[in-house]
């Protein structure tokens, strides 16, 4: 991609950060939301005649916890998208929308669960993948969650505003196809080096010989590397911060490097041969960035126990207890943790909904189920809904914990990870 063009894109202008900026933004969003909800609960309690010192401690999710919760719902969104059999660009755009939205939106304000389907629907529109809303609702119903047209459309403006009306997402898929096609071209001796550096580059025949030597008869290797890189781009990459930290071509190549380091290095050597002195420098710099993407974000070897290269920063890394691969999403301890956070979140937002904060919160703590009387200021229906859902959630959760499956009942026809077609 042309860098000058990319630098004018909304992806670069509005949604590209340094790790520190990204982390600061998440903390700031969490802090602002906590201040607001705390103030609101206290005000309501005082209005209901409770002395301020008597108000029970208000326990809000931390920024770390919020990120874990969002990460969990990102996996869920991914599975929903696969259930719809949407192409990779729709899935990837929906996931990117979720990440972007929760940079500046707290789960205290908007629960991600309610936004998964609306965001998917919006992504079909922005990706020009026309899906009649009736069909969308019908397909959603086969995945479990019952959804109405209003459920899908009511949050649309809030989502769009949270995305700052920037709908274009640049994905790394095309870049990967480019690498794939070019390696195949080299293998068949059809490689044409870009001008004006052609004089520095190996002639097509020599490049072919070198590549065939590397492949050593394993002709399928390029295809396998491409498949693995694609799998990474359509799963792990969408559960990490790479879109916020790197450009699409960097991500494409980072995934390819993670998929097949030797082949990726060979390709770079073709692009930046020994004879190209300034090019060598560029290559080393580039490799550093690509290595960062591969090792720090996409590598399957990452786990909570591994050293965190971004110590102290709130990034979507397994080291921070964040799910970045589908296999991790069913880790029972992680599921338990997310359940705990969700409960906490529910409790505090519920308290904010009630006019007499303290009393209601005690009820919740005591029995775990409420009478369902509205607060009389027009949010009764919400309360009932929330309770019904909470109960359902609890049952689903218990079942899931029993079965070790974070998603409760299995979605019918869920495609295996990475099987998306782009």
């Amino acid at each position: 991609m042309d860098d000058t063009i990319y630098s004018t894109s909304t992806q670069h202008r509005l949604f590209t950060f340094t790790p520190k900026q990204l982390s600061d933004l998440r903390y700031a969003t969490n802090k602002a939301a906590i201040e607001k909800i705390t103030e609101s609960i206290k005000r309501r309690a005082v209005a209901a005649g409770i002395v301020e010192s008597e108000i029970e401690e208000i326990d809000c999710p931390t920024a770390e916890e919020e990120l874990k919760l969002v990460a969990y719902y990102c996996v869920k969104c991914m599975q929903l998208s696969d259930h719809f059999q949407f192409p990779s660009n729709v899935k990837a755009t929906a996931l990117t929308f979720l990440h972007r939205l929760y940079l500046t939106t707290s789960t205290l304000t908007l629960h991600p669960k309610k936004l998964l389907l609306p965001i998917l629907y919006l992504a079909t529109k922005t990706e020009n993948h026309y899906t009649p809303i009736k069909n969308f609702i019908a397909t959603a119903a086969t995945a479990g969650p019952k959804v109405t047209k209003e459920d899908l459309l009511d949050p649309e403006f809030t989502i769009a505003m949270g995305l700052r009306w920037a709908f274009q997402v640049w994905h790394p898929f095309r870049g990967l196809e480019g690498i794939f096609l070019e390696l195949n071209a080299i293998a068949s001796g059809r490689y044409q080096p870009p001008k004006p550096k052609e004089h520095l580059v190996l002639p097509a025949t020599e490049a072919k010989v070198a590549l065939l030597e590397l492949l050593a008869g394993d002709t399928d290797r390029i295809g396998r590397a491409h498949g693995e890189a694609r799998r990474l781009l359509t799963t792990t990459a969408l559960l990490t911060d790479v879109y916020f930290l790197y450009t699409p071509p960097q991500i494409s190549f980072g995934a390819f490097l993670e998929a097949d380091r030797e082949l990726a290095t060979f390709y770079l050597d073709i692009k930046f041969p020994e004879t190209d002195v300034p090019g060598r420098k560029t290559k080393m710099k580039l490799l550093d960035v690509l290595d960062e993407i591969a090792k720090n974000h996409l590598s399957a070897g990452l786990s909570e126990d591994l050293k965190n290269p971004y110590q102290g920063l709130l990034l979507q890394l397994p080291q921070n207890g964040i799910t970045t691969s589908l296999s991790m999403s069913v880790d029972p301890t992680l599921v338990k943790e997310v359940t705990r956070i969700d409960k906490k979140l529910y409790r505090v937002t519920k308290r904010d909904q009630d006019s007499a904060g303290k009393k209601k919160a005690e009820e919740w703590n005591g029995s775990g189920s409420q009478s369902g009387t509205g607060s009389g200021n027009g949010i009764g229906r919400y309360d009932e809904d929330e309770e019904r859902r909470a109960k359902k959630r609890r049952l689903e959760r218990e079942k899931a914990e029993r079965e070790g499956d974070v998603f409760g009942a299995r979605l019918p026809d869920v495609k295996t990870a990475g099987a998306g077609s782009f």
Partner: protein, 378 residues
């Protein structure tokens, strides 16, 4: 909402849905609506201004009735592409906000006339240097779209708007889309008929930026003739006009054309070879040979043979005398009438036409476009 904010600083410490609401309110408060300058079934256009600077703007409010399934595809496309495309020759989307009942408002750069008005106004005289200037500006805008992987898909004189300083701006991105991947189909029901290239009339499902070049080629011809060059009254008629004027599309001049889904020989009784400079020279007598080469290269039947926007801009015609008129010296229309006219241009649903075609379009093609256009992959 800070679309006008070009810097790269992270958003201010925000607060969820409320923050979005608050930002929306702030954006909304920045503008005053002055008077209505256009109203259609799809949108209402107001002339307005920025409160703090008195800078005039156009505020396009998409009607709720046009949003049956949430924000319409047209509005999504328009917002999506205008947010990305920043160029002197592309209309600037300044802000987006929602007003009560989730009405979508697009704050657009204020422009007070369009190329159609200039062409039609017999009292306005213009010459080669002026045409050269308008065409160059159109090509620059188109070059930027194509460089950004965006097809405009509705190039015609009333989508080429003119600012008070003479700058020409591509407008109306309601039919635009990103380049498709090679094997994903696109709809052929785009571009207003008079400006539609033959591959779309033949039902091609994969096409490229060359569709916009053909349309602009016809605008070029119209600037020279001061009347639409190929004003067909049906798709079949349109193809006949193309075949008669430019040549009959055949396997010889366009390998593969006969494989297109709706291929027919439009003028069996009068098959003509693709026209060369002789024909062009006779039809466009005022044009120099370099100008004729450019026009011909924009109107090639085979889309693969058409020049790209970049090739067009590199044409010798732009370098030879007379040099293109400076934008601020170009003939202008503007003023009261112009504002109403542009208001009319902006309020239209993309792909819909005005005048004689309206009934047919609203009853037929309009709906067909709205329904068919959304084909992404299947």
């Amino acid at each position: 909402m800070t679309t006008s904010n070009g810097d790269n600083t992270p958003a201010p410490a925000p607060n969820g849905g409320e923050l979005a609401q608050q930002m929306n309110e702030e954006t909304k408060k920045k503008y005053t609506k002055d008077r209505k300058v256009g109203e259609g079934t799809y949108a209402v256009v107001h002339l307005g201004h920025v409160k703090s600077t008195a800078l005039p703007v156009a505020i396009k409010k998409i009607k709720l009735s046009a949003m049956v399934d949430g924000i319409s595809m047209d509005a999504i496309r328009e917002v999506k592409f205008l947010q990305e495309l920043r160029h002197e020759n592309i209309i600037r989307l300044i802000d987006v906000f929602s007003s009560k009942n989730q009405n979508l408002n697009l704050v657009l750069e204020f422009l007070d006339s369009d190329l159609e008005m200039i062409i039609k106004d017999t009292k306005i005289g213009f010459g080669g240097a002026d045409i050269k200037s308008w065409l160059a500006m159109s090509l620059r805008g188109l070059w930027w779209c194509h460089k950004n992987f965006v097809l405009h898909r509705d190039i015609k004189p009333n989508n080429l708007l003119l600012a008070t300083n003479g700058q020409l701006k591509l407008a109306d991105f309601g039919l635009a889309r990103s380049f498709s991947d090679p094997y994903r189909a696109m709809t052929s029901t785009v571009i207003t008929r008079w400006y539609r290239p033959p591959e779309l009339l033949f039902g091609a499902k994969s096409y490229s930026s060359s569709v916009d070049i053909f349309s602009l080629g016809l605008v070029f011809a119209e600037l020279l003739l001061r009347v639409p060059f190929l004003p067909g009254d049906s798709d079949v008629h349109q193809l006949r006009l193309i075949a008669t004027a430019l040549g009959t599309p055949t396997e010889q001049n366009w390998p593969g054309v006969t494989k297109l889904p709706d291929y027919v020989i439009p003028n069996t009784e009068d098959i003509r070879p693709e026209q060369g400079s002789l024909f062009y020279g006779e039809t466009f007598r005022t044009l120099t040979p370099e100008g004729l080469t450019l026009l011909m290269s924009m109107l090639r039947l085979d889309p693969r043979k058409r020049w790209s926007a970049k090739q067009c801009l590199e044409s010798e015609w732009f370098k030879e005398e007379p040099t293109p008129t400076k934008p601020e010296l170009l003939p202008r229309k503007g003023g009261g009438k112009g504002i109403e006219k542009v208001g009319g241009d902006l309020k239209r649903r993309a792909g819909w036409d005005e005048g004689t075609d309206v009934a047919e379009l609203e009853g037929h093609r309009g709906r067909k476009v709205a329904r068919k256009l959304d084909f992404g992959g299947k």
